[in-house]
């Protein structure tokens, strides 16, 4: 039986006819279904495959569609479809670069100055050419103090970027970015960064269209109408056509895109379904090609049936516990070591998270462009007990009460409960409490360092260990443990000026060794992405950063395997 009669989209349509229509059709459907049995109908996914429209689950509702405001993974997925940066993500390998607006780029000897040569056929979705001046304008906007872009620190790579953002210099021309002409951009960096092309792939480095921004307000206004469908102008493979809060964001092929003939999908619908169980049901219901995530406890069911739609892929992230190093009992380094060695990471990965995660023996995930973290924290109950004695406790019962702070979520809760029990069994610590906090309260607690142990996760912004290790510098706003070590800071600083990768990694390993021997963080596991993907979706390859360039993704009816139910 068919669902109630389809209606036009509700955006802007008069309220009463649709409401009434829905009420009526709903009750008709309700009455009819008593007498009718179900029959086959074309699912939404089948229809979308034919029309080459990707239907993607996308987690939470986007905060904005302005690359200078957002920071979340879901938001940047949408932005990646709408905008194109200097360098684009490669569809198969995050270590490789695809030319974006820049056709080619080169650096000086020590990687501190980068020259980007822009293609001259790149166009905005309104037909305007994309020029080097657009990039300068964008970087001016995101770094402008009045803009207060939350993620402006990504552009501190540019010379004087931080000083300008902090309002210490007023003149943007002193910041290390120049348009030599319409199609040549020069970036001068604060310090050498051999991985700079990786950095400029990030959302914060995307260009925006100045005239559109200023049509609706000042350059630095953060909440004008420019982001709405109809007003929004972008330079990527797609352009924004529809947006309804908590319902969908729709993008369609951008006819002015320079590579439009190679854009495979005709459009993408992003659905913000933040209930993961609902998302999984919607996938089974044929409403989605892809789920943003798959809840832990459904993994085993998909595994048992050998469902090919289940995907588990290595992801560039680390799950760990922070320790407050200024407060008892976690101010004692031996006590922190005892806690770290008492965590059985394998048990967590095999029995609690079950998503194919890797037990973390260090902090930075391995294979980050060839980087391997020191293998230091391996579960060892005897070592753990030794450190407990060293910390001055005869038995775990003497340890004063302390609390593990988590934000409310089933999976964080399970991990915390399991670790709490490990500390109890291995070290005999009786008085460990777990406290749930609502998300924003939790963030405040962690930033104010008003906890003893707190759960944390970190997803790398680009493929280089720097994105993981720079947060532990003294006073870094993401440090949030109170830990600081001059040797660590020195090694990190030294590494920044080394251009040879192997030599630089050696410095970083030395730095991470210090971090892991003082354990302000208790490593737990390295992330995987676990999700469901419809077999109709082609060219969707596992990616370390999970930033799929959507223009390469194709939709072809998959005849080989009917989806098992």
């Amino acid at each position: 039986m068919t669902p109630p009669a389809p209606h036009e989209t509700h955006q802007g349509s008069p309220l009463h006819p649709t409401l009434f229509g829905r009420l009526l059709s709903g009750f008709l459907a309700g009455a009819l279904l008593l007498g009718l049995t179900s029959c086959e109908r074309e699912s939404r996914v089948d229809k979308a495959t034919k029309e080459k429209i990707l239907l993607l689950g996308n987690g939470a509702e986007p905060k904005a569609l302005d690359p200078h405001i957002v920071s979340s993974v879901g938001d940047s997925n949408i932005l990646r479809s709408l905008f194109e940066g200097l360098v684009a993500y490669h569809p198969k390998n995050d270590m490789l670069h695809e030319p974006g607006v820049a056709e080619r780029w080169e650096s000086n000897e020590d990687f501190s100055e980068w020259r980007f040569f822009l293609r001259n056929d790149a166009r905005w979705s309104n037909g305007d050419p994309v020029t080097a001046h657009d990039f300068v304008y964008s970087y001016n906007r995101i770094l402008h103090p009045e803009m207060a872009a939350p993620y402006a620190s990504m552009l501190y790579f540019l010379k004087n970027g931080e000083a300008f953002n902090r309002g210490e210099i007023d003149d943007f021309s002193q910041v290390g970015v120049k348009a030599v002409n319409d199609f040549e951009l020069v970036c001068t960096l604060e310090r050498p960064a051999p991985y700079f092309p990786d950095v400029v792939k990030h959302t914060t480095w995307l260009p925006i269209h100045g005239p559109t921004i200023e049509k609706f307000g000042k350059m630095t206004d953060t909440y004008t109408e420019w982001q709405k469908p109809g007003n929004h102008v972008s330079n990527g493979a797609f352009r924004l056509t529809d947006w309804r809060i908590n319902a969908y964001v729709k993008v369609r092929k951008n006819p002015h895109y320079w590579d439009v003939k190679n854009v495979k999908p005709n459009g993408i619908n992003f659905y913000p379904i933040d209930n993961t169980f609902t998302e999984e049901k919607a996938f089974r219901n044929g409403l989605l090609h892809y789920t943003y995530v798959l809840p832990n406890n459904l993994i085993s069911a998909y595994e048992k049936s050998g469902d090919p739609r289940l995907r588990k892929e290595t992801y560039n992230g680390s799950y760990f516990f922070r320790c407050n190093v200024n407060e008892a009992p976690t101010n004692n380094v031996d006590f922190r070591r005892a806690l770290a060695y008492a965590i059985n990471q394998e048990t967590i990965v095999n029995f609690v998270t079950r998503g194919g995660q890797q037990p973390a023996y260090g902090f930075t995930p391995p294979s980050e462009a060839g980087y391997h973290p020191p293998d230091m924290i391996r579960h060892d109950p005897d070592v753990a007990r030794e450190f407990l004695t060293k910390a001055g406790y005869e038995s775990g019962a003497d340890v004063p009460e302390f609390t593990i702070m988590i934000n409310t979520s089933e999976s964080h809760k399970d991990i915390a409960v399991a670790i709490q029990d490990m500390w109890k069994k291995t070290l005999g610590i009786e008085k460990v409490k777990i406290e749930n906090q609502e998300w924003k309260v939790f963030q405040q607690t962690v930033q104010d360092i008003e906890y003893q142990v707190s759960r944390a996760g970190w997803i790398g912004d680009y493929v280089d260990p720097n994105t993981f290790l720079s947060m532990w510098l003294s006073g870094d706003s993401n440090n949030q443990t109170g830990w600081s070590n001059p040797d660590y800071d020195r090694l990190m600083k030294e590494s920044a000026s080394i251009s040879d990768p192997a030599e630089r990694y050696a410095k970083l390993v030395a730095a991470e060794t210090i971090l892991l021997s003082e354990v302000p963080v208790l490593p737990v596991y390295w992330y995987t992405r676990v999700y469901l993907l419809h077999p109709d979706v082609k060219n969707w390859h596992p990616l370390l950063l999970d930033n799929h360039p959507y223009k390469h993704i194709d939709l072809v009816r998959d005849e080989s395997e009917e989806t098992p139910e």
Binding site: T9, F27, A247, T278, K281, K440
Partner: protein, 308 residues
């Protein structure tokens, strides 16, 4: 004259109540720890300060409060902090129809099931039928919506394929949402109806009617029903308010873009203006509902019109 004065004074009281609600909400929202600009990856202090300045949060709280009231009077609920580029007016006018549809359909379903079941159970008091119906009703109350909703989705949606399980656009998932709400409230209404019907049925005028030989069905529907339904009507105000405001579980489970979701997300995002805006809308709704309930109650049961 009397009625007009009653309505006018009730209106004035309601306006005052609304002002109280807006005031309390405004300050409560600002008291909650963690601001709208906090993020998982820490935002440097100087940027947070600038953002506060951009949105006028650097002014003293009382000043902000009066500025807000000033805008409110002009019907401007302010910008949404969690959905940049949208105003709270836009967010609410998109979300309200969804919640209203859910609430009204839920209420209709609840009344269509609850009242007949309650009356029937009262008529068959202390028989197997009565116990059976009340057990079912109890089941409906015990099972929380976050259990019923996924179950309905799994069976009516996925197994039988009658409805979609999520989304709003061209989707029938909202009906499952209304059904979940309706089933839950019908259980309440059935029990309430049965209880008050029993009360009325044991009153003297019913006994008199019975002894005069009036047909049982006539007694049930003509004499007892009006009195028996009164507590149900008193319950409708809170029920509809609860249906529209409390539908967030259902909206989350079926992915519907209603006010309930907007409110919960506003609260978790500390989207101050959206919190205030949604609460104001809920408050107006509840005040209007209670007003209507008082009027209907007076009409159903003339004794309620107490002479003051």
């Amino acid at each position: 004259m009397e009625t007009a004065r009653y309505i006018a004074s009730r209106f004035a009281q309601s306006l005052f109540a609304l002002l109280c609600i807006i005031t309390i909400t405004f300050f409560l929202a600002r008291l909650a720890p963690g601001g709208p600009f906090l993020d998982e990856k820490a935002v440097p202090e100087h940027l947070i300060e600038q953002m506060n300045k951009n949105y006028g949060f650097d002014k003293p709280l009382p000043v902000q409060y009066f500025l807000y009231l000033g805008r409110l009077v002009q019907g401007d609920l302010g910008p949404s902090l969690g959905n940049k580029g949208f105003t709270v007016n836009e967010v609410i006018s998109e979300g309200f129809p969804v919640s209203f549809l859910l609430g009204i359909s839920g209420l209709v379903i609840a009344l269509l099931i609850g009242v007949p079941v309650g009356v029937f159970a009262a008529a068959k008091r202390n028989t197997g039928v009565d116990y059976g119906l009340m057990t079912l009703a109890m089941l409906g109350i015990c099972l929380p919506t976050f259990v019923i909703a996924p179950l309905l989705g799994e069976f009516l949606g996925l197994r039988l394929g009658w409805f979609d399980v999520a989304m709003w656009e061209n989707s029938s998932a909202w009906f499952l949402g209304a059904l979940t709400l309706g089933l839950y409230y019908s259980a309440y209404i059935a029990r309430l109806t049965r209880g008050s019907m029993l009360d009325v049925l044991s009153q003297d005028f019913i006994r008199t009617a019975r002894s005069k030989g009036v047909a049982p069905l006539t007694i049930l529907f003509k004499h007892a029903f009006r009195g028996g339904i009164t507590p149900v009507v008193a319950y409708l105000g809170p029920a509809l308010a609860g249906l529209i405001g409390g539908s967030f579980v259902v909206e989350t489970v079926f992915g519907l873009p209603g006010l309930g979701q907007h409110f919960i997300k506003a609260a978790t995002n500390r989207d101050y203006w959206l919190i205030n805006g949604t609460v104001t809308v809920f408050a107006i709704l509840i005040l209007v509902m209670n007003f209507l309930v008082d009027v209907i109650q007076a009409w159903l049961d003339p004794r309620t019109q107490s002479k003051d």
